[in-house]
């Protein structure tokens, strides 16, 4: 026991250092996502069949005012709260899913909020700038969300409380076509999920 005692705080300090610096070499994506809630994904309802003949091509801009914006207000039956954790959005370098050490404070704040609301869950939304190809960006956005989930798990948050969703480049905060806009769009947004009242 006497041999172990001095090593123990050292090991703790080392672990804390690794977490604090956002160790780049820690394995990513080892924690499987939890299955969805017990109600199976609902059927989407019918789409369109292919009709008999030519339909008029819509001119660009047609219908752009009618299409409602995604995302929905609910995620798997829980209410989405975009404001509670909005200050803690973290950002990424181009083509990278590495959590920056400068974002550790934000992650700790998110972990603290989750600890303060034990009945809440978290949805991490991964995003990319417009410059990547589409499917590659969708995977990269997911990986960014998963990286933040892994980091939060390392901060003590139960990973089964954390879900991820990638929007690829489909959900920019800044529609500009310049590096300043792109840097803002390469991000993870944290959405607090509240249980519906009465559940």
């Amino acid at each position: 026991m006497k041999i172990i005692k001095p090593i123990y705080p050292l090991a703790l300090a080392l672990a804390a250092t690794l977490v604090a610096t956002g160790c780049k070499h820690k394995p990513v994506g080892l924690t499987p996502l939890p299955n969805g809630p017990t109600p199976v994904v609902s059927t989407p309802g019918p789409g369109n069949p292919l009709g008999p003949g030519s339909q008029a091509m819509g001119s660009s801009g047609a219908g752009s005012t009618e299409i409602p914006t995604a995302p929905l207000d609910y995620f798997e039956g829980m209410i989405k709260d975009r404001t509670a954790l909005a200050p803690y959005t973290i950002h990424f370098a181009f083509d990278s899913a590495v959590i920056r050490s400068s974002d550790q404070a934000n992650l700790q704040a998110v972990a603290q909020q989750l600890a303060a609301h034990p009945d809440c869950k978290l949805l991490i939304e991964g995003n990319c700038d417009e410059r990547g190809t589409e499917e590659y960006n969708r995977a990269l956005g997911e990986r960014r969300a998963l990286a933040a989930r892994e980091a939060l798990a390392n901060l003590g948050v139960d990973p089964s409380r954390i879900r991820t969703i990638s929007y690829g480049k489909d959900n920019p905060v800044d529609p500009g076509h310049n590096e300043a806009a792109w840097a803002k769009n390469r991000r993870d947004d944290f959405v607090l999920l509240h249980p519906k009242p009465g559940t």
Binding site: G58, P68, D95, D170
Partner: protein, 454 residues
């Protein structure tokens, strides 16, 4: 939301041809589908040849000799040319991107018919010149129905002389274009094929999945959900599409029956479900799922059952199938540096084989040609470029044109892709051998992620 309408498989009326030659097998098949009771008693189409006379012994011997001599002569010629090599290489195809187009002239056609013929032939490697400079002269008219002839100028004979009827002038023109391609090249044309793609009114965010003729005409929206959609993929052998939609609040893969409009969730697991690719025999789907904690390639049956994980890397994307259904090619990140590479893995799992894409970097979105010869993909070096490399990787890729997300036509020589025009995406059709390409009309703010029906 439209009420589903009972429809036939291809319920557009089919143009028909009247003329010396029998219709192509494809048009015969469509006629049969459209009019199942119209018994077509014509024999299977014969190549343009004099009616065979009853062979006598001498003719048989000469024919047999001819059949065996030609390859032998080629081999000998090849051996003389390349005697310093270990193996004899007979170069059958010209290098991609550098093949000169076939010069043809087009006379007598007007308006939409002329536009259709020009587009259809341009993207299959033809160029339009004056009649005396043409190798093949295409003449005809569309004052009534489409009528056309194709003359081989040097051989001095007509390859094709037909008159078309039925459906629309556009459909007749497409059928004529296919007949022209068959007559001149001996290969089946693509003028009557279709594409699926996504269209986004504002250039990003929500959109709808569309199906159209390969040239962008006759476009129809298959979805009207106002949701983010992505990655449409045809189901070979059926009138159906798979695609990704966020309609249910998560990126899920849908299976959508085009004849009825009915659809179901094929993959709706936690996290990302996207990039569905259906096997050439229509029985399996490869896709990207992140349910295990990283985006990887998974496979299941077309009904969603028998789900299996195929890869375990840090970040995989865009699976596509080899034409024999035995391999999945995909983009992947490897190593500490997270370098982007193209790789393939057997559908039964096992070792990952990496492609050598020397000369280009950051490959993604591969597509494997139906004749098994090529893999097209996107390379990102600042801008995006469409690249093509041999599927057996015996040579490095060739960079073709600016653009991304290529999809092969059934002829294994034409590609559809999207390219940026003022920060919006426009679909474009490219002939890989000649590098000739042409944009197709845009449906919406941004059209992208095209998939050619094969």
């Amino acid at each position: 939301m439209k009420r589903p309408v009972a429809t036939q498989n291809r319920n557009r009326k089919t143009a028909r041809a009247i003329g010396e030659r029998s219709p192509s097998p494809a048009s015969l098949e469509r006629q049969r589908q459209a009019e199942p009771n119209a018994a077509l008693n014509r024999a299977a189409p014969l190549p343009q040849r004099r009616r065979r006379q009853r062979p006598c012994g001498r003719r048989l011997f000469a024919a047999a000799l001819g059949k065996f001599c030609l390859p032998v002569l080629l081999v000998i010629a090849g051996a003389n040319v390349s005697h310093s090599q270990n193996e004899i290489v007979i170069v059958k195809e010209q290098p991609i991107g550098l093949t000169p187009p076939v010069p043809v002239s087009l006379e007598g056609f007007t308006g939409e018919v002329e536009n259709v013929l020009k587009f259809d032939l341009y993207v299959q490697g033809f160029a339009f010149v004056a009649p005396d400079a043409a190798q093949y002269q295409i003449r005809g008219s569309n004052t009534g129905d489409v009528v056309g002839t194709v003359t081989d100028k040097y051989a001095g004979k007509a390859l094709l002389s037909r008159r078309y009827t039925g459906a629309s002038l556009l459909a007749q023109a497409h059928l004529f274009a296919d007949d022209i391609v068959l007559a001149i090249t001996g290969k089946k044309g693509i003028a009557q094929t279709r594409i699926a793609f996504k269209a986004q009114p504002t250039g990003s965010g929500p959109g709808e999945i569309y199906v159209a003729d390969f040239d962008g005409y006759e476009a129809q929206a298959v979805t009207s959900d106002g949701a983010i959609v992505a990655a449409p993929a045809w189901v070979p052998g059926r009138q159906a599409l798979c695609y990704t939609s966020y309609k249910l609040g998560n990126p899920d893969i849908f299976y959508h029956d085009l004849s009825t409009g009915q659809r179901r969730v094929l993959a709706g697991y936690s996290g990302l479900n996207t990039s569905a690719a259906v096997s050439p025999d229509g029985s399996k789907v490869a896709m990207i799922l992140s349910k295990a904690g990283s985006p990887n390639v998974w496979i299941c049956n077309i009904d969603g059952s028998n789900l299996k994980r195929l890869t375990t890397g840090i970040e995989d994307s865009s699976p596509c199938w080899s034409p024999d259904g035995q391999w999945i090619c995909f983009a992947t990140k490897t190593g500490r540096s997270e370098r982007r590479r193209l790789a393939k893995i057997s559908v039964h799992g096992g070792e990952i084989h990496y492609f050598n894409t020397a000369g280009v970097v950051n490959p993604s979105e591969p597509d494997w040609s139906p004749d098994n010869r090529w893999i097209a993909f996107t390379s990102q070096m600042g801008e995006f470029d469409i690249c093509v490399m041999p599927a057996d990787n015996h040579a490095p890729p060739t960079i073709l044109v600016r653009g991304e997300d290529p999809s092969w036509a059934p002829n294994s020589r034409t590609l559809i892709f999207n390219r940026s025009v003022g920060y919006r995406q426009t679909l474009s059709v490219l002939d890989v051998l000649t590098k000739q390409y042409k944009d197709i009309p845009r449906i919406s703010g941004s059209d992208s992620e095209p998939c050619w029906e094969r």
